[in-house]
């Protein structure tokens, strides 16, 4: 412990005695620290969102839908393929009670909603309570549809309230505006409390029993399975079928979470079997393997993260080479001192320790400065520049400082070894 403390003391004296050299070393390491911390927080954010995504979306996902190509590919003209009804969905559920989610749904992307004296266009989806089991990124006011609503086909509905969109450039804005045919609906829901109100959907009266507020983008997990149907209104699937709000002969989609990635393939085969038994051998349905998509998305996120972290590491290597250069220069500038220390009894180990401790101290101070700068860059500067801000957790600067010290330490091994290898007599002769 004492040799170490002595080395620290000498290190401080050296850092103080060579201010310019020390400042340059600090900078070299600090730059690495800033980049690394930035990379770190970006990666952490991705990781966190992926974990959240797994939690919210599940992994073992698939979707069964009608194979629409079958309807048109017959040379004899349009053929009506079998469609999935609510009863089919119930039978499916009964056959696979172990699945985490079996959510039948259908939608009508253009429904006319009437409220007071307003008539607006909105998309409506028919669902069951199972809909909430996955990708539920909302806060709910009022209540959601329950099984009684579905079984009895009650005329109740839940409206979605859109979150404030993230800031975007004018081009994106205009594109968004161009295709946003439900803007009127969004305005209505965000300006009026619709809970408990009576509305008409395609002329049929419904009671609004709940409002789903979308989480702001920053708090939403990455949704891999971004829903193409931006439904605005949710109602019991049975009610919509009974009142003919869907097109006739419409087939339901069934979203499934088998609950377990491991026997996913087995589940797929059982489902294919179920469909064949119930509807016959005709390739009438498509089973979309969403697990693959989720995995691809995760691995591409991981790849992107590795890219970022490798940039951070490169920055550290650059900083480390800076420290190595400085330490090597120090060794040559202090050769006579090394000779004196060796003459009065310092061992090779003492000399190595001294230079490595000194370099580690440069790394430590550089890391501290860099973490401070990294925080300033990561939060206030990015806010001022209008860039997206990644969360900085308290342990990130600590890790960054640790790596700065480690880098400096590792890169000082060679110069320290050179210093320790000098022959005392030669070192004393140096000017």
């Amino acid at each position: 412990m004492r040799p170490f403390l002595n080395a620290v003391k000498t290190g401080f004296a050296e850092i103080k005695a060579h201010k310019m050299r020390s400042v340059l070393s600090f900078l070299a390491i600090a730059v690495g620290s800033v980049v690394f911390m930035d990379a770190f927080s970006a990666i952490f954010l991705t990781y966190e969102r992926l974990e959240k995504q797994k939690e919210v979306s599940g992994m073992a996902r698939l979707k069964i839908s009608q194979n629409s190509s079958r309807s048109w590919s017959s040379p004899d003209g349009y053929v009506q393929p079998p469609s999935i009804t609510y009863e089919d969905a119930l039978a499916f559920r009964k056959k696979f009670p172990e699945f985490y989610m079996v959510s039948p749904s259908d939608n009508n992307w253009r429904t006319v909603l009437e409220y007071e004296n307003r008539r607006l266009v909105a998309s409506v989806a028919g669902v069951t309570p199972e809909w909430t089991k996955r990708d539920f990124v909302y806060t709910l006011r009022g209540r959601f549809l329950d099984w009684r609503d579905v079984e009895e086909g009650l005329r109740v509905c839940v409206l979605k309230k859109k979150a404030v969109p993230p800031p975007s450039d004018s081009a994106t804005k205009s594109v968004r505006k161009k295709y946003d045919y439900t803007a009127g609906f969004d305005t209505l829901v965000s300006h009026q409390d619709m809970l408990g109100k009576i509305v008409k959907l395609d002329g049929i009266t419904f009671t609004v029993i709940g409002v789903l507020e979308e989480l702001p983008v920053s708090k939403r997990p990455i949704t891999v399975l971004e829903s193409m149907d931006q439904e605005k209104i949710l109602a019991p699937v049975t009610t919509l079928v009974n009142f003919g709000i869907f097109r006739s002969h419409n087939s339901l989609d069934i979203s499934v979470d088998t609950g377990d990635e491991r026997n996913f393939d087995e589940a797929l085969r059982s489902i294919e079997n179920f469909l064949r038994v119930r509807f016959g051998d005709g390739d009438f349905f498509i089973i979309e393997n969403q697990l693959e998509r989720i995995r691809d998305k995760i691995s591409s996120s991981v790849k992107a993260s590795l890219m970022t972290i490798s940039l951070g590491l490169l920055a550290f290597i650059a900083g480390g080479i800076g420290i190595m250069n400085v330490t090597l220069a120090t060794v040559f500038a202090r050769t006579r001192e090394i000779g004196v220390r060796r003459a009065v009894g310092a061992s090779r180990g003492d000399i190595m320790l001294q230079f490595m401790v000194e370099a580690a101290m440069l790394g430590l101070i550089g890391g501290l400065l860099g973490s401070g700068a990294g925080y300033l860059w990561g939060v206030p500067a990015k806010i001022m520049l209008g860039l997206s801000v990644n969360p900085i957790k308290p342990w990130m600067p600590l890790v960054s400082i640790f790596i700065a010290v480690l880098t400096a330490f590792l890169f000082s091994i060679y110069p320290a070894w050179v210093a320790a290898g000098l022959k005392p007599a030669d070192a004393l002769r140096a000017e």
Binding site: R2, P3, N6, A13, A17, R336, E337, G339, V340, R341, R342, A343, V344, G345, A346, S347, R348, G349, D350, K423, P424, A425, L428
Partner: protein, 221 residues
């Protein structure tokens, strides 16, 4: 502390066959002797002293220090021997200018792992002994040549060595300071410490008990 060398040669690298500084010299120094090594510049005096002080290794030959074959010792044992048994005084003092006089004296004790209070106390005592009371906090740059050499002497005494090696200790000093340093060295020798001093000053050499005269890397009988 006895020194026994036989057939010591040292060839420095450079040129076709190197440059020989010592050409097979053999001698013995008994414990408690005061030996002056004399000879003209470039005759190998300092090389010999460096070898005796374990700062350099001979190209061939044997060297035993108090009966131990020091050339076969690993580097850290030789470092320990330098620290605990040998004290050096150099012509150009070799003090660290960033440290105070007291800190310079503490250096060998620091490597010996002494605790700092004891170190300070001993440094003060040694500086008093060489007549530098009150200058403990001065750095070498604030001291005169004679004072610097006295700091170096205090430093060489830090771990109570049994052998003091002085390489032209008065070479950079005026005559008054030279006399003072010589008086200190003679006093230490009287206390039983073996002293080996390199000098080309015949008057100083006369103060030593015995002279080893070197000429072109050989002992002049």
């Amino acid at each position: 502390m006895s020194v026994k060398c036989s057939g010591l040669s040292k060839v420095y690298e450079g040129g076709k066959s190197g440059w020989p500084a010592l050409r097979g010299i053999s001698f013995e120094i008994e414990s408690g002797e005061f030996v002056a090594v004399t000879g003209p510049s470039g005759c190998g005096k300092s090389t010999l002293l460096n070898i005796i002080g374990l700062l350099d290794e001979p190209t061939c030959g044997t060297y035993s220090l108090n009966g131990r074959d020091v050339l076969k010792m690993p580097d850290n044992e030789r470092s320990r021997a330098r620290r605990d048994e040998i004290g050096f005084v150099f012509q150009s003092f070799h003090l660290l200018n960033r440290l105070s006089a007291a800190e310079n004296v503490c250096l060998p004790m620091m490597y010996a792992g002494m605790d700092s209070a004891a170190m300070r106390e001993r440094a003060d005592e040694l500086l008093r002994r060489v007549g530098l009371n009150g200058k403990q906090r001065k750095t070498p740059l604030e001291l005169s040549g004679g004072e610097r050499q006295r700091v170096a002497v205090a430093r060489c005494l830090a771990n109570s060595p049994k052998l003091i090696l002085a390489d032209e200790p008065t070479g950079n000093l005026d005559s008054a300071s030279s006399r003072e340093i010589m008086a200190i060295l003679s006093g230490l020798n009287r206390e039983g410490i073996t002293v080996v001093m390199v000098t080309h000053d015949k008057e100083l050499a006369a103060l030593a008990g015995r002279n080893l005269r070197l000429m072109d890397g050989r002992l002049d009988p």
